[in-house]
């Protein structure tokens, strides 16, 4: 072509071909994905075009099993960690909490440190953990006759106030919001309890306790266990294993505790109760 000619002439008819090619690809892809393929999904094939488009968009109709007999629903907890719940649980006033907390001292001790080994210490307990347990006691998803009665006499706002107060007390360690991995806490540790705490047991599918309960790990709603009372931990592990305590969301504790032996539960409780804040 000679210079001086308009080079955009060269685009004809390629501009059109490019658009046609891309459009055809898209049309074929949508036709296959939205209309044709859903028709060939075996037993669950949708009955109409409208249904198949719904299916392709990700809306599913549930209820194939509506005629079969279902066991009654059992809800582990009514708490869900939504933005609203978290804000409510963490916005308490420790001053107000301190006043209410005077009623707790008889069992949970002066300043939240319980002297009886089967009653948990509350000083330094995570606010969300505290809030969730009170709410579970109120709704009956966790059972304890004194605690259920107490929780029913308080409001959600008061749970948050108490949570703020107890969280501010020195007691259960490492609640500065920062939990760093520890040295010497590997799978190769020779102490079987330390191994269970820090590395878990892959053979039984048991995750490391520390990955949720610390030290060196954190999960929303899971209490730090270091320095918690020994008998209390032991009893809770038994309760989870037997299903008498069942307020763990997604049942990690029921699943894990059921796989632990009697002696492991005791040894774990001992290990956590005597755990030093910082290991060498």
């Amino acid at each position: 072509m000679s210079p001086g000619n308009d080079p955009s002439r060269l685009d004809n008819p390629w501009r059109f071909i490019a658009i046609a090619f891309v459009s055809a690809t898209v049309v074929v892809a949508f036709g296959l994905g939205f209309l044709l393929l859903p028709r060939y999904q075996g037993r669950h094939a949708p009955s109409s075009e409208k249904d198949s488009v719904y299916r392709a968009l990700g809306f599913h109709k549930h209820g194939y099993a509506s005629t079969t007999i279902q066991p009654p629903l059992r809800v582990p907890t009514h708490i869900a960690w939504t933005e609203t719940t978290i804000r409510q649980a963490t916005n308490g006033d420790p001053k107000r909490g301190e006043v209410i907390a005077q009623d707790c001292t008889a069992c949970h001790g002066e300043k939240g440190l319980s002297a009886q080994s089967w009653i948990p210490s509350l000083a330094g307990l995570d606010r969300l953990v505290f809030y969730k347990q009170l709410e579970d006691f109120r709704s009956g998803t966790r059972l304890s006759s004194p605690m259920s009665a107490i929780a029913q006499s308080l409001t959600a706002g008061q749970y948050a106030d108490l949570a703020a107060y107890f969280a501010s007390l020195p007691g259960l360690p490492e609640d500065r919001g920062e939990r760093s991995p520890r040295p010497h806490s590997s799978y190769r540790n020779r102490d079987p309890m330390q191994r269970l705490i820090y590395a878990g047991d892959p053979k039984r599918g048991i995750a490391a306790c520390a990955s949720c309960h610390g030290p060196g790990g954190y999960r929303i709603g899971a209490p730090a266990l270091t320095k918690q009372n020994e008998l209390y931990i032991d009893q809770q592990l038994h309760a989870f294993a037997q299903g008498t305590r069942a307020n763990d969301m997604n049942m990690p504790m029921r699943a894990i505790a059921a796989m632990l032996s009697e002696s492991e539960m005791r040894a774990l409780a001992q290990a956590y109760a005597n755990e030093k804040t910082q290991q060498p």
Binding site: P7, L10, V22, T25, L57, T82, I86, R176, E178
Partner: protein, 444 residues
């Protein structure tokens, strides 16, 4: 800024981009800065591209420049996904302003970046295929137009395809997954075009050098030239890597290998095998020009490339097989005393040996570069010459000389393929999950 938290164990690749798990805010701030910095680069590329066209009215933009600008544009488009994820979702959580995160939306936004970023790495290798290799082999590029079409196709088709990373994710319906699966197959086109064009260019060079017969030209090629050897080996590895990719992107076959170590093996094979090996050859071309000291031993450079080639094969083939046997990815510890896992152990050991071979090749690479740096300065160093094509273009259609039209097509495709999958999160509610950091309490 991003590397300090990584080195300190506060942000690991195992979770930094898998919300609701999050890492240290410093990591994300660092990453955000890197992306912002890269936008300056994109702007520079576009300004230069315009300036060149203004000064050379009517002349075709050189292929290398055309391709690298396509690469910059691609990055500009695709980085939007991860950038919005980091800025609007992750940073507010890691800084403590929010406690929950919509993991589905985050994964979708990340998928916008996740796949195209691969082509962002691949394109420089392809540029070397098209513009450096034919020259080094002593021939010419088979077709300049084919090169332009290839890079345009990469730009258009590598972004609206990211959902194929989420085939097993519940937040999207089967329809859009399938649509993006089809679009992903379109990305195979530029690679097939490239394999054809580059093989043809190699054949031209081989025949110019006196190769005869159906395959005689292959022997006649200068395989002692690092660039030619690297491209040859890269094409070989692109084969299994590419076909593995076709399996990953197939809507149905993906289910067999999803989240297994097949996937990690695949991207090591493609990136290490097909891309990085060409980067080595590019380094052997550029380093002498930067330092003014010639490459002392091409033989040692070629040995390094061969060691790398075998290392990558030994690493990735057993790794693929372990994936087919069901070995999951993103696991820190495997219990090899378990009878199911025990069968994978020999493959993993083989793969580790391959990794050591790869490592030795890297050491050799640095040895070659360092030795070069101590060599005497050459009196004159020929500048880099980009390969001419058999029929150097006097004029090219404006379509293949600029990107305006393709940007519009790409925008339309992205809206079609991602409009609903991203838009749905704004009318579906209660999708948020509590975010958590493995090392820090988010609620504090």
């Amino acid at each position: 800024m991003a590397l300090v938290p990584v080195a300190a164990g506060r942000s690991s690749v195992l979770y930094t981009f898998y919300p609701p798990l999050v890492g240290s805010p410093w990591y994300y701030l660092g990453v955000a800065l890197v992306i912002i910095g890269s936008y300056f680069w994109i702007a520079l590329m576009l300004v230069n591209f315009r300036a060149w066209k203004r000064e050379n009215l009517g002349k075709p933009v050189p292929l290398a420049m055309f391709a690298i600008t396509a690469c910059a544009l691609l990055w500009g488009w695709t980085a939007l996904g991860a950038t919005s994820e980091v800025v609007f979702q992750i940073l507010p959580v890691t800084l403590g302003w929010r406690h929950t995160i919509d993991a589905g939306l985050a994964r979708t936004l990340f998928s916008v970046t996740l796949h195209a970023i691969v082509y962002f790495w691949l394109i420089p290798a392809y540029i070397a295929y098209y513009t450096l290799m034919p020259q080094a082999a002593g021939g010419r590029l088979y077709s300049d137009t084919m090169g332009r079409v290839t890079f345009v196709l990469f730009l258009v088709f590598s972004i609206p395809v990211g959902l194929h990373h989420l085939f097993m994710d519940p937040e999207h319906g089967a329809g859009f997954k399938f649509v993006q699966s089809v679009l992903t197959f379109m990305v195979a086109l530029p690679t097939l075009l490239t394999v054809f064009t580059i093989t043809a260019s190699l054949e031209i060079a081989g025949r110019v050098r006196g190769g005869k017969g159906l395959f005689g030209w292959i022997r006649a090629l200068p395989w002692d030239e690092p660039m030619v050897l690297a491209v040859g080996l890269s094409l070989l590895l692109l084969g299994p890597g590419g076909f593995g990719g076709l399996i990953n992107m197939s809507f149905a076959m993906n289910a067999m290998i999803h989240n297994t170590s097949w996937v990690t093996a695949h991207f090591h094979l493609i990136f290490g095998g097909a891309v990085v090996i060409v980067y080595f050859a590019i380094a052997y071309e550029l380093w002498p020009r930067l330092t003014g000291r010639p490459l002392a031993s091409k033989r040692l450079a070629c040995i390094q490339l061969w060691v790398w080639f075998w290392g990558i094969l030994i690493t990735t083939i057993p790794w693929h097989i372990a994936g087919l046997m069901g070995e999951p990815r993103r696991y820190a510890i495997f219990d090899y005393s378990d009878p199911v896992v025990a069968k994978m152990a020999p493959l993993v050991i083989l793969s580790v040996i391959g990794g050591l071979v790869v490592l030795s090749s890297v050491l050799l690479f640095f040895y070659v570069l360092i030795r070069m740096s101590f060599a005497p300065v050459a009196e004159s160093m020929p500048p880099i010459r980009y390969a001419l094509s058999v029929n150097p273009p006097a004029t090219v259609p404006p379509l293949l000389n600029g990107f305006a039209f393709w940007n519009v097509i790409l925008l339309a495709l992205v809206l079609i393929a991602y409009g609903y999958p991203i838009g749905q999160f704004f009318f579906l509610h209660n999708q948020n999950a509590p975010a958590y950091s493995l090392t820090r309490e988010i609620t504090k």
